[in-house]
């Protein structure tokens, strides 16, 4: 609705001269408008097709109210179809005051950039929170001091809000560092010699290494390089467990909504055994070994295109079989859907591998650096077994292996742990309670 006079505040559409669907040219009269001062024909400020008339004949609206929608046929920019909002440019032409032009169409909520947050795939960009930024990046002056002195903000203990490193903290750190006798700067590692490239022959397919693959490659190499791996295996007679699962699986599925696999039993046995043998839940730290209090179990999950991911169940000792079954189901599902957050895959203290699900009977897993050990649960296979009294029976047998870091522990400790796990798994019968 245009302003047809200096003190005019509203106008009435006396008559529409165009209908919806009509084409209109620029300056062609589109309506007759009455105000208490004057009646006038309203020329269209745009050319196009009238999509909609927003105000009925006879209605009185305030100056500036939208009265019609005109499709101008231009690329629909963020404004969508141009709006016919003939707000006057103000009584005096020479002062196109800032803001007299109608506000661009309020952007629809659809364009939300918040899609990048949290729910995106595990590798997607996530908007960090203020708390995270405070810890990671602190403040301008701290960043500047850190850069000037070659200090990692994360290596300093922070006394500021939320553990933030304050200016005082970093200044103290720098002073302390300068006071300490200068250590020999570690000799720069020689740059790796340029790698010899593999010759590609005709017919060969070259697959680019993805960042996931590269990360796995890095991790595995590092683990093998740093930790002297040793490995041992025991056989567990899990016939009772098999029987238990057979009896209970239907009811479990119905009641809990997730499948009952052997994995929760294995994890539970591992967790309880780790409590008795904490040296397998530890980290090598050069001149000391740190025994972790929390038991965070990583579950190795194989993703179809040859990627491996290890989501972590934190405080796995808080859960019983039912809880573990649920948690495992949840993290595996999220892993397959690529919905794991960095928090989900960090903080593990021990890893359980389940190649048995794919039919393996023996495997030699690589330790998930920087943990002390990793356990593999192999496939359950019916085998003829010689019992105590020399009778031969067909039993369901599962191999359990542990790869361990020989710097931290020896075979004895590894086997004591492994046997504890075996004992627990062998103790189940079809009558056992599932808690």
């Amino acid at each position: 609705m245009p302003q047809l006079g200096e003190s005019v505040t509203e106008g009435t559409i006396a008559r529409w001269l165009k209908a919806e669907g009509d084409e209109v040219e620029k300056d062609e009269p589109i309506a007759e408008v009455d105000t208490d001062k004057v009646s006038a024909e309203l020329p269209s400020p745009l050319a196009g097709r009238i999509e909609r008339l927003l105000v009925p004949e006879g209605a009185t609206v305030e100056v500036g109210t939208e009265i019609a929608l005109v499709a101008t046929g231009e690329e629909p920019g963020p404004d969508g179809p141009a709006r016919e909002d003939a707000r006057s440019e103000g009584p005096t032409e020479e002062f196109p005051a800032a803001g007299t032009r109608a506000q661009p169409v309020a952007a629809g909520p659809g364009e939300s950039r918040a899609a990048g947050r949290g729910e995106g795939d595990g590798r997607g960009a996530r908007v960090p929170s203020a708390e995270e930024l405070r810890l990671r990046r602190s403040s301008p002056v701290v960043r500047r001091l850190a850069a000037e002195h070659g200090v990692e903000i994360s290596s300093i203990r922070g006394t500021g809000v939320g553990g933030r490193v304050t200016k005082k903290d970093i200044e103290a750190y720098i002073r302390e560092r300068e006071a300490r006798p200068r250590e020999e700067a570690p000799p720069r590692p020689a740059p790796p010699p340029p790698r010899e490239r593999v010759e590609v022959h005709e017919g060969d397919e070259v697959v680019e290494v993805t960042s996931v693959r590269r990360a796995i490659a890095e991790r595995m190499s590092r683990s093998k390089r740093e930790a002297p791996h040793a490995w041992t295996l025991v056989e567990a007679d899990v016939s009772g467990l098999v029987g238990l699962r057979e009896v209970r699986k239907e009811e479990f599925r119905r009641r809990e909504g997730v499948n009952l696999t052997y994995l929760p039993f294995v994890v539970r046995a591992v967790v309880e055994s780790l409590k008795e043998h904490p040296v397998l839940n530890s980290v090598w730290d050069g001149d000391r070994i740190v025994l972790r209090k929390r038991i965070n179990i990583g579950i190795a999950v194989d993703l179809e295109e040859g990627a491996l991911i290890v989501p972590v169940i934190k405080d796995a000792d808080d859960y019983g079989i039912v809880g573990l079954a649920r948690r495992i189901d949840e993290v595996v599902r999220r892993a397959r859907q690529r919905r794991l957050s960095p928090d989900d895959v960090s903080g593990g203290t021990f890893t359980v591998n389940n190649p048995g699900a794919l039919g393996s009977v023996v495997s030699t897993p690589i330790i998930n650096h920087p943990q002390a050990a990793i356990l593999s649960a192999e496939a359950i296979v019916k085998r003829p077994v010689v019992l105590e009294d020399d009778a031969i029976a067909v039993r369901s047998m599962m191999n359990l292996e542990v790869s361990f870091d020989h710097r931290i522990l020896d075979g004895g400790a590894a086997l004591r742990f492994l046997n504890a796990v075996k004992r627990r798994l062998e103790s189940y019968t079809p009558e056992s309670e599932i808690g």
Partner: protein
Amino acid sequence: MAVRTLLQAIHDALAEEMRSDERVMVLGEDVGRAGGVFRVTEGLQEEFGPYRVLDTPLAESLIVGSAIGLSVNGMRPVAEIQFADFIPPAFDQIVSEAARFHYRSKGAWSVPLTIRVPYGAVHGGALYHSQSNEAYFCQVPGLKVVAPTFPADAKGMLKSAIRDPNPVLFYEHKRTYRLLKQEVPEEEYTLPLGRAKVHRRGQDITVCSYGLMLQYVLEAAERLSGEHGVQTEVVEPLTLYPLDRETILESARKTGKFLVVVEANITGSVAAEIAATVAQEAFEWLDAPVMRLGTPDVPAAAFARPLMDRLIPDRARVEEAMLELARY
């Protein structure tokens, strides 16, 4: 040196200027016979007569308008707006006329006008006797706006304002008229406009403030030092427009933590301008976000005492803001 209250210091400045320069005159509501509703101009009409100490009609546009006219004709008027809340009727004269004479006339005319403006909330003052509206004028080139808190600064700066050939708004916090006392030199002195003052030096946080709030800040700084080991640097702008950016920024860069405390409504306040300046020009030195404390955006001030106390920053809230900043 004698101990004077803020009120006495202002009175003394007026009396001394009027004695030494016969062009100096005072005009406003109740300033003459009654000696001013706060007694600031007490005794002046007796000493200088009714033509140099004028009781005006109740019309602020007239007070300032005629003062402008007087000033371009050779006088040095000191106009009083009885309460800052009454200044809107004079707004046009101040902003459209007084501020622009010099510029419009290419320097041919100047307006050596001083406008004294008591401001600040008092219990029972309510909507028309409480406002802190200094920010209205802190974006009008051609004006100067000053708000010295303490007696010695006030006396020296009022003299400078009167002697300044350009319009100066001189804001006085009415709640500090008698509250703040200080040793004031008896000999003749002036203080230049446009210079901020560091009241207290410290390493940990900078707090910038003026008026009654400044008094609260200084008290809180003492407590923070004694009880929490936090050393506060306290800066008073003294001149709100134009700001002494150098002094303010120097302090901000030194401590990295900056808080501005004002009594005015926080949005669009002088605090906001100071904070923006610091955020932009001291960015690399900042160890915390630049903070402001003021009255929330509600009409100032409430008549009901508990409501007024709840909204206008008090000692406790000032201290809390300072401590929070120190801990960031």
